[in-house]
């Protein structure tokens, strides 16, 4: 069969265990080169070109490139450029990369998968001539380096033509690229061609931007002044960290930077309720948001509280000094409960990714060193080197972080690509899609080829396999302008006085079959993302707006859930079926409301709507009695100019009775389906749960309520709902809504999960107060619903299963992706609203009513319900500015006082909004206090006097919605499109 040799590998682990594994060496691994005549290649294995054209000046002959591991790890952005082709990746390298960084590994795999790049993976570890055994005492790294050199030498001799037909021109060399000096030296001694990446890249023709993309990983960062002490304490070595965590001296957790204060952050330690607070540059010790870090807790007497300060890193380039921070962070009053505080002593794993942002040019002309300011405030500024600063200065760019040496104030990084002009709406949209990791490229040809051919007709076979409901008076109710209609309803009175109610959901799973390209794409996208002026579809438009959409008077496939309900809305029986329906009319909420209200209308449709409405009211009442929460979040809608797509007017979303009518039945359908699929698939049903938040989450809410004399009971969902209902102040109509907004922020995120992976009693949906829940009703815009449709179809015998559907681990992996994409889609949506708010305020000055949401030590956080905007209002003077009024902060009562004016949470205020365009790169909305008036502080309203210069004292920046401290938001909205 094959030549196999058995080699033994011995590894020791734990209590010394000898593991002996076989390692087969093969003689059928080919070199992958088209020039080679010795190997018995299959055609599809010939990846490397016969005579690769050299674009390099120092190596002006045909050659292949072979990469060292560190090159792949550090210079992946260079590799992603099309300039480097004909590259050999050794298996040794691939394995090491996989081990060290899964993100780089994934990117490398993407490159390898691209046939144009001509990357060949050579399995050197199993090749009989290139396998290298580790010598006694040799380190793994040294052994790998040696293996790489052996492979280079093998390639060189393998590609060397026989003496007889040696012709100069078809003679391909192999060049090893390495940044490791020792490896380079050894390779040179062996007589191999070798270069550093830097040298190689600098001599590539016709690729100007390539050099900028070089990672700064190895270049040591020297201080301009030189000779100063390192700014940060050094990190512990991995073994020290490992030991520390084992002995309990150190804690491991992921670092979450504060959005408001760049010198503060928290570490969420696994298995601990409370987060560990870290403060100050030294305390943070070069951790970047998302990193997995090791923290050392400080002794109890040094514990601290979050500083209540809003701080931004405003310095242009502070050089390498750390600011005087003691004044900033020392707010160690005794009366408040202190949080566990610690210092970060080591980084376990970096979670660096690519960041969008802008370039802040170096004031020194001609310098190549610049500062990059990320769009996300949680991320520190980054030092980069680029020669294209002039063209990039007014563009949004993408940068990646390479390293953060101890003596640098900021991390070092390199330029990846430019997105477009700042302020341009397309660029900004692109930025927010990228920042939120939303896949938004056009659907590929393979995906589009999965679509059904037009004209699409219903065949005889389809009719036979489905229940024909075309005779039933079905209608759909949706927001205006909705083109992806995925649900429709009907209601009929039965002879026994009961009602038959049906919910008909677009049968997307009929068109999206498992395993097809379109299915994979939809699973990746997971959800349709709604931006203010744009919709990023999960499935191609032909499906989302036509074949699947339940348009009025069109025959469509549906998945129906039909109940018999009593007059009291008790479910008598439930059935599910695949059906064909014809919606009589696609209505808006308003139209449906009018039909219900107009009692002169006695047609079937109006009657059925009235029936639905009355049943929905009973359902809703019962649900609220069970303890379902009614929460609020400021949601707004932009009236967009039809031509320029610029926002012209803002309105908050209105809620009508019909909204909740549709919502109730969708909830009922979801619950019924959840029960059904769990019954049939106890292990792999895709469900949705909403965990009860830990009590500590409610602290701000309880505090805020207590300050105003309301006791908020948080023991159970029902108690909470009740106490929220009771907290009404006659003098402040918005008070209750504000409390509900606060309550929303205490909530956990609802998540999808596979039923086999979670304990049964954790299935509970807290917000809706139901024991089990899933998503069934929006398959056009959510992938989870498609999975649920498939499960339900199997359980009613309308479809067959496939392996992945019944694998609970795969379902769980899938639901992780769905959860992640959903969260990102939500953030992207909010960021889009913020972007449009900025556009809306261009050249406008307006007075608006707002409310104090939180009182901070040096600022007020204000919510403007009309725009759903939340901002920080600084009360203490900015640097170099004098303020002739002082505010007194009372932490206990959460108030800010100035003279006889005091601010408490939920107090109404009037503020003046305008857009500060002085900094082109960073437009922000400025607000000035109008009412209550404070002499020398507030400004007159726009109407009375035209605005004067002089008062720069009180400004309020509107933080981007994405960066406002909205962390947890219940995804209670079932029906918001």
């Amino acid at each position: 069969m094959l030549t196999t040799k058995t080699f033994l590998r011995k590894t020791k682990k734990g209590n010394i265990l000898k593991i002996v594994r076989e390692h087969y060496l093969r003689d059928d691994i080919w070199c992958g080169s088209s020039i080679c005549r010795k190997c018995a290649h299959q055609d599809n294995e010939l990846i490397l070109e016969k005579i690769p054209l050299s674009k390099n000046k120092i190596f002006p002959f045909p050659h292949y490139i072979l990469l060292d591991t560190c090159v792949v790890l550090n210079q992946i952005t260079v590799l992603e450029e099309d300039a480097l082709c004909n590259v050999i990746i050794l298996q040794t390298v691939l394995e090491e990369v996989k081990h060290r960084s899964s993100s780089v590994y994934k990117r490398l795999k993407d490159i390898i998968g691209n046939p144009n790049r001509k990357f060949y993976v050579f399995v050197n570890e199993h090749h009989k001539d290139t396998y290298v055994e580790r010598e006694p005492g040799e380190k793994v790294n040294d052994r790998n380096d040696r293996a790489i050199r052996v492979s280079v030498a093998w390639y060189e001799s393998h590609l060397m033509p026989n003496k007889g037909d040696r012709k100069k021109k078809d003679y391909v060399r192999v060049i090893l690229l390495t940044d490791d000096a020792e490896n380079k030296q050894k390779a040179e001694n062996d007589g191999l061609l070798v270069a550093t990446v830097g040298d190689y890249v600098r001599h590539v023709d016709n690729c100007p931007g390539l050099e900028d993309r070089l990672s700064q990983h190895n270049t040591t960062y020297e201080l301009q002044a030189g000779g100063r002490e390192p700014l940060f304490p050094s990190h512990l070595t991995p073994s020290q960290i490992h030991e520390g965590i084992k002995s309990g001296k150190l804690l491991q957790g992921s670092f979450l930077a504060s959005r408001e204060n760049f010198l503060e952050g928290q570490v969420s330690v696994e298995g601990q309720d409370k987060m560990v607070l870290v403060q100050g540059c030294v305390g943070l010790n070069r951790a970047v948001d998302g990193d997995i870090v090791a923290v050392k807790l400080l002794p109890k007497e040094e514990w601290s509280v979050p500083s209540h300060m809003v701080l931004q890193d405003e310095d242009d380039d502070s050089g390498d000094v750390l600011e005087e921070e003691d004044t900033l962070i020392k707010s160690r009053e005794t009366q408040v409960e202190k949080l566990p505080t610690g210092h970060i002593v080591g980084i376990i794993r970096r979670k660096w990714r690519q960041y969008c942002g802008i370039l802040q040019q170096n004031p020194i002309k001609g310098s190549v060193r610049h500062i990059f300011v990320p769009a996300e405030k949680k991320i520190p500024k980054v030092r980069i080197e680029t020669r294209q600063a002039d063209t990039l200065s007014n563009q949004r760019i993408v940068v990646t972080i390479d390293s953060w040496p101890r003596n640098s104030r900021y991390p070092l990084g390199h330029f990846v690509r430019a997105l477009g002009k700042i302020g341009d709406k397309d660029t900004e949209n692109e930025v927010l899609l990228l920042e939120h990791d939303v896949p938004h490229s056009k659907f590929s040809e393979t995906v589009l080829s999965c679509l059904p051919k037009l004209p699409w007709i219903i065949s005889e076979k389809d009719v036979q396999s489905r229940v024909d409901l075309r005779h039933v008076d079905i209608c759909s109710v949706d927001p205006p302008g909705c083109t992806d209609i995925d649900d429709a309803l009907h209601c009929m009175e039965l002879e026994n006085g009961n009602y038959e109610v049906g919910v008909h959901i677009a049968d997307v799973s009929h068109f999206i079959r498992s395993g097809t390209a379109i299915d994979k794409e939809a699973a990746l996208r997971a959800t349709t993302v709604y931006l203010v002026d744009k919709r990023i579809d999960m499935v191609p438009e032909l499906l989302s707006s036509n074949l699947c959409s339940l348009l009025g008077n069109e025959e469509r496939f549906a998945f129906s859930c039909i109940w018999e309900l009593t007059q009291e809305a008790e479910v008598v029986n439930t059935r599910f079926c695949k059906s064909i329906i014809r919606s009589r009319q696609a209505m808006t909420y308003e139209e449906a409301q009018m039909k219900i209200d107009d009692l002169t209308l006695q047609d079937n449709l109006s009657k059925s709507l009235r029936g639905l409405n009355s049943l929905a009211k009973i359902l809703k009442k019962r649900r609220i009695e069970n303890g379902a929460l009614v929460l609020a979040s400021p949601e707004i809608r932009f009236q967009v100019d039809s031509e320029t797509l610029d926002p012209v007017e803002v309105e908050t979303k209105k809620l009508r009775e019909t909204n909740s009518m549709v919502e109730e039945f969708m909830l009922l359908a979801n619950i019924s389906v959840a029960n059904k699929i769990l019954e049939d698939f106890p292990e792999c049903a895709m469900l949705r749960r909403h965990p009860k938040p830990p009590l500590s989450n409610f602290e701000p809410l309880v505090k805020a309520g207590r300050n105003l004399g309301f006791e908020i009971n948080i023991e159970s969902g029902k108690a909470l709902a009740l106490s929220l209902d009771n907290a009404v102040r006659p003098d402040n109509a918005f008070f209750n809504t504000m409390l509900r907004i606060l309550a929303t922020r205490c909530m956990m995120q609802a998540v999808y999960f596979a039923s086999g992976m979670v304990q049964r009693d954790e299935f509970f949906h807290y917000g809706l107060a139901v024991p089990i829940y899933t998503h069934f009703t929006s398959p056009i815009r959510r992938y989870a619903d498609i999975i649920v449709h498939r499960l339900l179809a199997v359980s009613i015998g309308a479809d067959v299963t496939y392996p992945e559907l019944l694998d609970k681990r795969k379902s769980q992996t899938l639901s992780h992706n769905l959860n992640y994409r959903n969260r990102m889609a939500q953030y992207a949506g909010r960021a889009s609203v913020a972007l449009h708010t900025h556009l809306f305020f261009r050249g406008k000055v307006q007075d608006e009513q707002g409310y104090v949401l939180y009182v901070r030590k040096n600022a007020l956080q204000i919510l403007i319900p009309k725009y759903g905007l939340e901002g920080t209002l600084y009360l203490s003077p900015h640097k170099a500015e004098k303020l002739n009024v002082t505010f007194v902060y009372n932490e206990e009562e959460q108030t800010q006082k100035c003279g006889d004016v005091s601010f408490r949470p939920f107090d109404p205020v009037t503020v003046q909004l305008s857009l500060d365009q002085s900094n082109l790169q960073h437009e922000k909305i400025i607000m000035k206090l109008v009412n209550p008036q404070i002499l020398g502080f507030s400004v007159p309203s726009v109407d009375s006097v035209k605005r004067k210069e002089s008062d720069k004292d009180l400004e309020m920046e509107i933080s981007d919605v994405s960066t406002s401290p909205v962390r947890k938001k219940s995804s209670k909205k079932q029906k918001t499109k």
């Binding site: 069969m1 094959l2 196999t4 058995t6 265990l17 000898k18 593991i19 002996v20 594994r21 076989e22 390692h23 087969y24 060496l25 093969r26 298996q91 795999k109 390898i112 993976v121 399995v123 570890e125 199993h126 299963t801 496939y802 392996p803 992945e804 019944l806 694998d807 681990r809 795969k810 992996t813």
Partner: protein, 253 residues
């Protein structure tokens, strides 16, 4: 996730085999002189000894004796040093008992037991080193030992395992590493020429759609192993002639 990356993009498994390749098999018949038949078999790093005594009269209580066929008695044991961590009991634990039963089930189906009514055949197998596919190695070694003992069989009884890599590629003859990575594990003991299956066992689950190809993969493995065993038997006979083929060299008194 476990069981996901048993097969690399280049189509090689963790130890460098392709999906349809067996581990290296080495075997020897007639390794002991005491028993009537014996064999030693290596399947990769899994190493097994088998010894066969009989057919002889029923030992112990006569009640066990069967009037129409021979009683096949199997004992499976694992040497204490056979696994990574030292085993406490070499035999008699639940797992070994189960293995013994399974061995008996498979071997009884291949041996022509009806030729020896009211008698007993003892088969002892000992795993010296366990590296996945222990049961298969035992069945294969026992088959060789029975051959060596000259006991008539219908056909070679051959066993092989198969698994599923990357969710849909069947892998043959899985090693300990692959067994432990959490994928499904199908064991088949079959008569390769007639294609009859004597025993089939599976741990873990996979979708029914995969079953035919995984079973086919295991059966193909059985056929390949059969070839190797057959060669070994033929070579053994050529080399040692009648010696070791049932007739022991008589010790001259």
């Amino acid at each position: 996730m476990a069981g996901m990356h048993l097969l690399s993009d280049q189509g090689l498994r963790l130890d460098g085999r392709r999906a349809n390749e067996l581990r290296q098999i080495r075997c020897k018949l007639g390794v002991f002189s005491q028993p009537d038949g014996s064999a030693y078999l290596e399947q990769g790093n899994t190493k097994v000894l088998a010894a066969v005594y009989g057919p002889h009269e029923i030992r112990g209580s006569r009640t066990k004796s069967l009037h129409d066929k021979a009683l096949v008695n199997c004992q499976y044991s694992m040497a204490t040093f056979s696994t990574g961590e030292r085993k406490r009991r070499p035999r008699g634990d639940r797992k070994s008992q189960e293995m013994s039963m399974h061995l008996r089930q498979a071997l009884q189906a291949a041996i022509r037991v009806e030729v020896y009514p009211r008698s007993q055949i003892d088969i002892f197998v000992e795993v010296l080193q366990a590296d996945g596919g222990n049961y298969c190695a035992c069945v294969n070694a026992a088959t060789l030992a029975i051959m060596d003992a000259g006991i008539p069989m219908k056909e070679y009884m051959v066993a092989c395992t198969a698994s599923l890599g990357n969710g849909d590629v069947p892998l043959v003859d899985i090693s300990h590493l692959e067994e432990n990575s959490g994928g499904p594990n199908l064991t088949v003991a079959a008569l390769p020429l007639s294609g009859q299956v004597a025993l089939m066992e599976m741990s873990q689950r996979f979708h029914l759609d995969h079953l035919p190809k995984v079973v086919e993969c295991a059966l193909q493995g059985c056929r390949d192993i059969h070839q190797i065993l057959d060669q070994a038997v033929r070579r053994h006979i050529e080399v040692s002639g009648a010696v070791g083929w049932g007739i022991r060299p008589q010790v001259k008194l």
